[in-house]
Symmetry: C2
Subunit: 672 residues, 2 copies
């Protein structure tokens, strides 16, 4: 073959259409294997439906069907009760790559790229040669629009082959996609069912019905009528915004003065803040944004870095929340009865490159979870479960960076995915998830995001550890108690019978040995009912008076069955001012929960006050912040959290010193 | 905020320009951290330069400079002696995403997407606000063209801000890019230097000069004047082609008959093969491709699956080759002196979705390689080192699927990345590498590719194991020999001196004990010279005659220094018909190598013939295929290879039964 010259090359240099590009690189869109292609097709459809319903404030009802068509061809139907799509936009939404409504909005949504569903249409026709059928009806219209369309990959435009009106049962509004794709149907870990299950967990407001190729129907019922709050569209946050992006915004601004531009086109920039920034940057307030020089733009960005600006609004984000995280974990674990659920961590929103994001972490440990396997990682991005590319996800990276040996997990060299009986759930919510590819499988390794996840993981792990520690202590107390309560009398009885003497009263003896107040709690579960019983033994030589405090879940608590009546109930905080307990005697406090699953009852923490805590076993001294309201306590806690983190990080850094990072290598310059 | 309706959503539904999309998702292009952005920028430039030079049959001279500009801003210069770019194409090549010459060509090249270098220009202006400067000169032109350009992201077009002619020293042709990007410069594992080093290893025909931000210059010298063969552009191979793609080709065909279309537009389809396919599909030879129905197209594809079609031409691919793989590994290992280099495996080309691909694997083991860390994995795609996203690469997946415990590495549960003193190099060459994203970091998990890599890994590992086995045996022989040769005489001497008698001759005694022919080889290295000495001891009671055969590297062999003169030298196969060795006597064979590094001398394998091999220690019986020429032997070997693989796989499958795949889950239907 001839060797190329600049001229012969010039002839070959030409535009590549976006359609051709993705057709040739369908793996980038998540169509790299038959199994995965089927999952991707369902995922893109369902994510779209959920976004549309939520935007329109509609509780989603989604029907998904996967049916055998030909050999490896499947028919996929996804039908929702969303707002519908107006007729002229149907071909664009389904038949053009890079077309959509969410790309330009700064708020959390599942789809952002305007690629997903049209990619499904494209892959469908590439793999089966068949067109896609759309039905959509809006509230204002009497009938639905029906279209049969294909995607012209060279032009990246839809071709509507046939269209018609259609009476659509009694559906008020909604959209139905019917697409044929080549695929392979599997059950198990990375499957449609698994994706839908994960989706149902973090979208409890959705009703999802799934009919699999064998005709079996699985229903994920709505468990709340409450929609997640509609995420509010915000303006870009100035922190971390890119120079080029800033200059483009300035050039395109309708404002004539920098002060107005800064105040109006960014989040959290008040006139005062704008003035401070401009002053700091030595840029005039009256300077026109359109003629701003690169040097001035650079100065403004530098000033933004220095000036204190409020964190972004949180209402552009929609975190999963503590309850659902716990529920999600419980659901996944099914019969494995883990011993401990660490209280989930939800961090405050932070910003990367001007995009707000927020991290949530949940963790469970023990029970029948497998001990000799890598921990299970559950990844979510904007309430969508991520099933593929775990290895290249920032979540995995962050997990691999924590030294889990400190938290009781096995980890070779203190790096990498730990082994042990644990499940770790991480949710990244953001107005723009930085996915590593259009397939939206994995989140790119952005340093600030990684750092936040790491922090959340450490905090959650620390909570788990504290929890494990307390629990171990409790078990030990229990053991001692059993010896005193059961073994000693047993021995006394036996000895008495041998020597033929009456069984001695042991109260006094035990008192002499122990000299403690012993708080012993016990939970029994039977028929949907948890019975909690707390015995307070006075093993001292004099009568004792004390206050008992419990921090306990309110869900399922039968307030009428608390005996004796508490002196105070304040949310989850309950206080009993107990009457004096005579020496060697015991008094009991008990209460009941109903309607909870066996492993659903949260922790009950016991504290005592108005007694020397040194002589109490089985309850902690009441902490100083007990009286504060929840919010004040939380802020106290947040403070501790940051300090604790700093300590943790310092300790780990010391150990890691001199070590090359897993994915980053030694830095020569460190002035980011 | 208001709830959306179909109508309000319709207003927001709009086109997203490719430029805007990638600006908002720059992480997809490899610009997700400061460190990585700098590497990506250099990588895209250098890959482009190498492709251009090779296409034009020019030995590449590439100059790379990274210099500090502002705080975290860097100036990057990449200059080559390629064919240059004609003036009108300069703005397109550097200022438009999805524009290039290699996307539509079916042959191995580094760049294929038409995105890389324009993405660098885009990221440069996004992060620093600065334009890019291009100089290019073609052979036909007297002077070079100089341009200063930016990328208009909304329109995805270049804007030429300034242009001029420029006298360019005495450069005959070439291109120089000067771009400013925000970044962070690091040394170490994932760095520019590391990328260039890897590039130099697998592109030994390139001269690469690198000036780092501290002004230090590193030169990677050209070690061969030979260009890799220019890869030939081929037509698509019919195996595995997608239905939609096939239909598109048929519709766009200039041919009027299926027979002509099939024969002319596909690789390896002769008229005979085309006829067989069409007959099988029950499609008329005269059928017009343009009016082919989906059903007929489907039938043709089905027939293609059944009909035997030659494997794709290999000249569209350019594998690294055995020598360079060894060299590459050696280079990386530097001082770690691994004990064993497994002979690299180069598999025959295979096809995925109509794209030919080829796998190469190399492996080293032992020495001072760290024993308690995961093995080091070196990944290459079309002669480009891959530095990021190791976790989501098909290469990593394939490595994780092999049970390395069989090959002497530590691996928990027989899955995952093994631990131990080994380095594994894998090269995937293809006319289209299925990258997981536009950043070209990792190869998607395509089943056929994964399978081929797995097979290559197993073969290479098996070779390593055989090698280790032989070596252990040799060491044991050596030990025994040392006892006989040194210890026994030592004892004899000592005993003799104690009892005051003369030292007995031990030859006879040893002969009585042993009754063997002992072949003992020894390699000494001194001053660039390897001296190989082989002693053949006759520890039997009668004189023995035998032929000694050595399979030994020819590189560096000084044929004049072979003593005694061999009876035959046939490539790497050397035979000595030795004269009779009297009982208890020894004869010696020796030869020399010069000019090799200490660890550069390959294995020498010794065989014997015309003697009962059962009485020989230290050499194997001559294999039956010794007389065959290299090719015949190779085909024999290939046969064994496939059989061996089948055995290996069967054995592993048995063990794995009931186990869920790492990344695939249980299959319900298995009819792909």
């Amino acid at each position: 073959m001839g060797r190329a010259t600049a001229e012969s090359l010039a002839k070959k240099q030409k535009e590549i259409s976006i359609g051709e590009f993705f057709q040739a690189n369908k793996q980038i869109l998540g169509f790299d294997s038959l199994t995965r292609s089927l999952i991707t097709a369902v995922k893109e459809g369902v994510d779209n439906s959920l976004d549309a319903c939520e935007e329109a404030g509609i509780l989603p009802d989604i029907y998904v069907e996967v049916a055998y068509a030909a050999k490896t061809d499947f028919k996929i139907i996804i039908e929702d009760n969303g707002p519908g799509i107006v007729k002229r936009q149907i071909p664009n939404v389904f038949g053009r790559l890079l077309y959509g409504s969410r790309f330009h909005s700064i708020r959390q949504s599942r789809g952002q790229q305007g690629i997903g569903i049209s990619a499904v249409v494209m892959y469908g026709q590439l793999s089966t040669g068949k067109p896609t059928y759309i039905i959509s009806k809006t509230e204002k219209e009497e009938v639905a629009h029906w279209m049969k369309l294909v995607l012209n990959t060279k032009k990246n435009r839809a071709e509507v082959i046939e269209e018609d009106f259609k009476v659509w049962d009694d559906k008020e509004h909604g959209t139905r996609v019917e697409v044929f794709v080549q695929g392979r149907y599997i059950a198990g870990k990375q499957s449609i069912l698994e994706y839908l299950k994960g989706t149902a967990i973090v979208n409890p407001h959705a009703e999802i019905t799934f009919k699999d190729p064998n005709g079996e129907i699985t229903e994920f019922h709505r468990v709340t009528e409450e929609l997640p709050h509609i995420t509010r569209e915000i303006k870009p946050h100035p922190k971390g915004i890119e120079l080029g992006h800033f200059i483009n915004m300035a050039k395109a601004s309708k404002h004539r003065r920098m002060i107005a531009f800064m105040t109006d086109e960014f989040s959290r920039v008040s006139p005062r803040v704008a003035r401070e920034i401009l002053e700091n940057a030595d840029v005039r307030e009256k300077q026109s944004p359109r003629t701003l020089s690169i040097e001035d733009a650079r100065a403004v960005l530098k000033a933004i870095d220095k000036v204190k600006i409020m964190a972004p609004q949180t209402d552009c984000l929609s975190p999963i929340g503590e309850t659902l995280i716990k529920k999600g974990l419980r659901n996944v674990l099914a019969g494995l009865k883990p011993k401990f659920y660490a209280p989930p961590v939800t961090r405050d929103p932070k910003v990367y490159s001007g995009h707000p994001f927020q991290i949530e972490v949940g963790m469970v440990y023990g029970g029948e979870l497998p001990k000799d396997r890598p921990v299970e990682i559950l990844r979510f991005a904007n309430r969508v479960p991520l099933l593929y590319q775990q290895g290249s996800d920032v979540i995995t990276n962050a997990i691999a960076r924590v030294d889990w040996r400190r938290y009781g997990l096995e980890q070779r060299g203190g790096k990498g995915i730990p082994y042990g009986p644990a499940v770790i759930l991480v949710h990244v919510a953001s107005t723009q998830i930085p996915f590593t590819s259009e397939a939206k499988d994995a989140i790119a390794n952005i340093k600030v995001i990684e750092g936040e996840i790491e922090r959340a993981l450490r905090l959650c792990a620390r909570r788990l550890k504290t929890h494990l520690g307390k629990s171990a202590k409790k078990a030990k107390n229990k053991e001692k108690f059993d010896i005193v309560q059961q073994l000693l009398p047993e021995i006394a009885k036996k000895s008495a019978s041998i020597v033929g003497k009456p069984v001695p009263k042991l109260g006094k003896t035990i008192t002499n040995i122990m000299n403690v107040i012993w708080v012993n709690d016990n939970v029994e579960f039977e028929k949907n009912r948890h019975r909690v019983s707390i015995d307070i033994y006075n093993y001292t030589s004099t009568g004792k008076k004390l206050n008992l405090h419990a921090e306990m879940p309110t869900k399922g608590l039968n307030e009428k069955k608390i005996v004796p009546m508490p002196s105070e109930i304040n949310g989850e905080k309950v206080t009993w001012k107990l009457k004096k307990i005579p020496s060697t005697e015991v008094i009991n406090v008990s209460f009941e929960y109903t309607g909870l699953g066996e492993d659903e009852l949260g922790d009950i923490e016991l504290f005592v006050s108005e007694i020397n805590p040194a002589i109490v076993i089985g309850a902690e001294p009441l902490p100083g912040d007990w009286d504060l309201d929840e919010k004040a306590r939380q802020s106290l806690f947040d403070f501790d959290e940051e300090e604790e983190l700093a300590e943790l990080e310092e300790a780990e850094e010391e150990e890691e010193n001199g070590d090359v990072d897993y994915d980053e290598a030694t830095e020569v310059i460190d002035d980011e």
